[in-house]
Symmetry: D2
């Protein structure tokens, strides 16, 4: 930890900071410059509280030297970690595409979707049974019954299923219906009680980035899950809020190489929620693969015009199949495989 003091301060203020640091067991290095004094704290940074130090008289700024995340950090585990969902590995040479409709609507819709997912060459399926909707007056998801429909459609196709968990009280239902991977949505990235709960079970977790979360906050949310004992975490970039109104969110493609450097865990991208329009999905999906993503989460609906939510961002089965061929070419161009 480095403490930069304001100018025109006295020894008393410097001594007070030094004593606070020594009290918690840190070694101290005081460097008096021409205009500023800089105090370096040597040892385990978590012993000192950054905000407490920042509140001390005469302190201008406090800078952490160490990253606040541990288990999820690449410095903790140098090689890439593979996360397995129902037998399919994320983080290796082969990319994975998880496809399916925004929400579980009816059994025929789910059956048709499952067939289309397989036909396009995808190996995992997504759909929402519990939906985080901005308005209390719109469709809130099929609930537990939706989980049942989902499995009934996916099992015959041998598709592992991925679905969003919004409430700690639904975990038992997720276990009972053998959900293969739990998605933590954007609005719950910092729902710390929910993160702690999924840290206690051993299902893989797909952790979406918060609406305007920094990469560091996102890593810390993963650290919550990891600290509970569950290291099967996959990051999912889905765009962040911006001033641009042409599309729904701004896909942060730079987050892909940044995460690959900072963490050993896999990184996937959701191009559908990022752009919010079906016609943007192919360009964004290809960009994600080219930038090094380990997989994608893509919305596909057997009949987009009849979808009950997010209709405008779903691909048709044919569009998904075409895109998979294109993505395979891009994957091969960057030394990976897809199909």
């Amino acid at each position: 930890m480095i403490i930069i003091m304001r100018d025109n301060i006295s020894d008393k203020e410097i001594d007070f900071v030094v004593s606070k640091l020594k009290n918690v067991g840190l070694d101290v290095n005081v460097s008096r410059g021409v205009e500023r004094t800089v105090i370096g704290a040597i040892g385990e940074e978590n012993l000192a509280d950054k905000e407490m130090l920042q509140s001390l008289p005469g302190v201008e700024n406090v800078i952490r030297v160490m990253k606040p995340y541990k288990i999820v950090a690449r410095s903790y585990h140098r090689t890439d970690t593979l996360v397995d969902i129902g037998g399919h590995k994320f983080g290796g040479e082969q990319l994975q595409v998880i496809a399916g409709p925004c929400s579980v609507e009816t059994q025929p819709q789910m059956d048709a979707a499952a067939v289309a997912v397989v036909a396009a060459g995808c190996r995992l399926m997504r759909a929402g049974a519990f939906k985080p909707r901005t308005s209390p007056y719109t469709f809130q998801g099929a609930g537990v019954e939706g989980l049942q429909m989902f499995q009934q459609a996916a099992k015959p196709q041998r598709l592992p299923i991925v679905t969003e968990l919004m409430d700690v009280r639904s975990i038992d239902a997720f276990m009972e219906h053998e959900v293969d991977a739990i998605q933590i949505g954007t609005r719950n990235m910092q729902n710390f009680d929910l993160l702690k709960e999924v840290g206690r079970i051993h299902k893989p977790v797909i952790l979406k980035r918060g609406m305007s979360a920094t990469v560091s906050e996102w890593l810390m949310s993963a650290e919550y899950i990891a600290a509970g004992g569950n290291h099967n975490i996959i990051f999912c970039e889905r765009g962040v809020r911006s001033f641009e109104t042409y599309y729904r969110n701004m896909l942060d493609v730079t987050a892909i190489p940044v995460l690959k450097r900072e963490t050993h865990l896999p990184v996937i991208v959701d191009p559908s929620h990022a752009g919010g329009k079906a016609w943007m999905v192919p360009a964004l999906a290809k960009a994600a693969v080219a930038a090094g993503a380990d997989g994608l989460l893509i919305e596909m609906h057997p009949k987009p015009c009849d979808a009950w939510c997010d209709a405008d961002q779903a691909l048709t089965p044919e569009e998904l199949a075409t895109l998979m061929q294109q993505l395979d070419a891009v994957a091969r161009a960057v030394g990976r495989t897809l199909l």
Copy 2:
């Protein structure tokens, strides 16, 4: 609802949109301009799904004419609604300041804080027993024991207490310890299951704005609570995420007049979490009162340098007392009262 069609489309596409609108019971007005056709849907907008319409072939854009919020809208209830917390009214001529430490630490700390809150002229107290912390390795709050310490300090001073609820499973403890108002924090503004639960009880709710929530999304989150039957909602602006790194969040002072126009419910401001530095609090608090806020939520700690969290943003008891005098003057300048 207004549907703007792309240029160069055929009658077939227009007819398809029209049939979709008529199917759900809306009247239709087709206006063929020189370059674009615009379709107006007349009737209850919630009958049609904006995203479904947006996905139809030939549609360029869909615009809602009505506001998506109902119960919380000023058009639903023209006069200002007063929300009562422990006998003190928010939304009337008199402003309310809720003060106290970031978190419940010890009984002596809470006792000293309660005395200081009253001494400064504040009539309500805040402190966190359950803390949403970015890191799993930092102090997570005193929990249920914290609620007990809080009441033990506040009761003798006759201070109603306000504290944050993070988990649906803690509601019983909040009821048992007679929390006077429940705070929903920034990270839970779109935790819809939590919103539904506080909608079922009749405690006043202080709903903080999400990290980068639009005013419209914020009003919709309040609508979730109101739709459950609980209309005792107070909005709390606490700054939004921005590119500026000099301070923690950017206080959105414009949100105050905007909310006063859009909703009949009270609006308060948290200048402490907005700026993140104690020295910024007086300027921001005065700005909030001048802009029309109905109250403030201010961090004060008996000994900021010893605080266990957010130390750098807490005022001392003396600073709070001085600020209350200054705020009273600003309140009177805009036709309100404080002390």
Copy 3:
């Protein structure tokens, strides 16, 4: 300057950084922590280039200790600087309001506006002769003829005039028509050639904040002007770009106390361009005064419904007069005066 090295680096990389620092004449302090080595450079920071250091092998991060701005910094000049425009001082106890229409349209419009400015109690007038318009197909301003009309309206009322300069080639016209203060608009805050030119003359400059400029970048733009010899600079906060679409820009009220701490120069606020709606102006103007602004820049048009640009944000003469009374009350509540 503090250089934080990556983990797992060799002495060779540390030595290389040290030699680069010594080469430019800086003293060096190497602190080897348990996990990271931190190198402190002692001396005049501008001797070393932050980006060059950041590019050296093994360097994780480089942090400046000193502020990059000098002349405009409060550490350079501890007491508040007063800037005089036509005999009226900015930065002292008395606040100044500069009012007038968005743009110079016709002589009768300007004459009526000048009368209304004085009637409301304002002592300076604003209007644009050269307009930065998003579209090449809209009214681009009355140009030099507009300067003439402006003076013809303002002189009889003894109103100093403030108007925007967009092009270095117009400076002679500004001198010739005796413009009292030059406004540098948002889109030109980092038009460095323009800043250098206004640094060479001795007219007061009102420097608006760039659309999404950090406070630090804004101070550096002022430093460009000051480095040329012109220290008569007034900062003008006018809102920054955000994700919120309810209003045009987000007024950054926190920038006021921040600037008052960082610089000795005056700070004013433009509530009209911030909100973009006339009905928001009173709340924002009062907030600005309460937060410590030294003045305001307010749009007023004799007949807003007939205005040629930004019609929706202009107050009527009556609204301006009423607002001035209200602002005077707020100013007095914070120990200042206005009327």
Copy 4:
């Protein structure tokens, strides 16, 4: 244009809006809904001023139906426009990479850079002679002498040169030194006088996106150039300002497919300024190509550790050569070519 009226308004307000529209020659369609009245204006939208309409009593919102840009719009010119810089075409099947150092430093540096540009397989060269620097105290560029050095290095390699124009007064020097394409930098995207000047000459213009410009504003800036008669415009995405501090700017990869849909002009990407770190460049460059960019602008310096500016974002000659091979593979995967 569509005008949405507030609720509870009278016929008088509706009639006033209608009369304003008819006065400028527009046809009107009034649609009275259950709760709101919507007025449609039919005809050439530019006849009515959106802001004036917005200021009329009773008006809630005004929505444009037509795009404000004309010449640069794809609806104006359906097929892709090819822009030629020194014999190399942008916007066709073959991609172009413009490479070179941030700034012109010395003749040997430029000579070495030119050789490296060709060796890597690039066909155009970039370097800055006039530099927009945040601080007045840092290197401001070699100026006209720099243009000379640039040509002396580039001519023997037959490399067309691209360099930034910051000041209208430098245009003659740019013509004299036969600059092949003029770059308009981020800070000048809305320097309208500069845009008008480059609209009068017939050099190709590379128009960088403003720091936080919307796609629509960017297209309007291009419209300024086009309206002057110069249609040789190339858009260059270079990242936008965001809350994330890990990297310099957030590359907006979604802007690529959006621009390709909205305009017929070519789109390139600058991955170097976006990320701000050399190690991020390969991932971002590949993402841009995969998303459909027509080319790239990449910083390369013969000796990055000695560069005078932006040292940390420049590739070495070897890194550039390797990247070109990788980009060629990605280009082929999406049906384009590079080498």
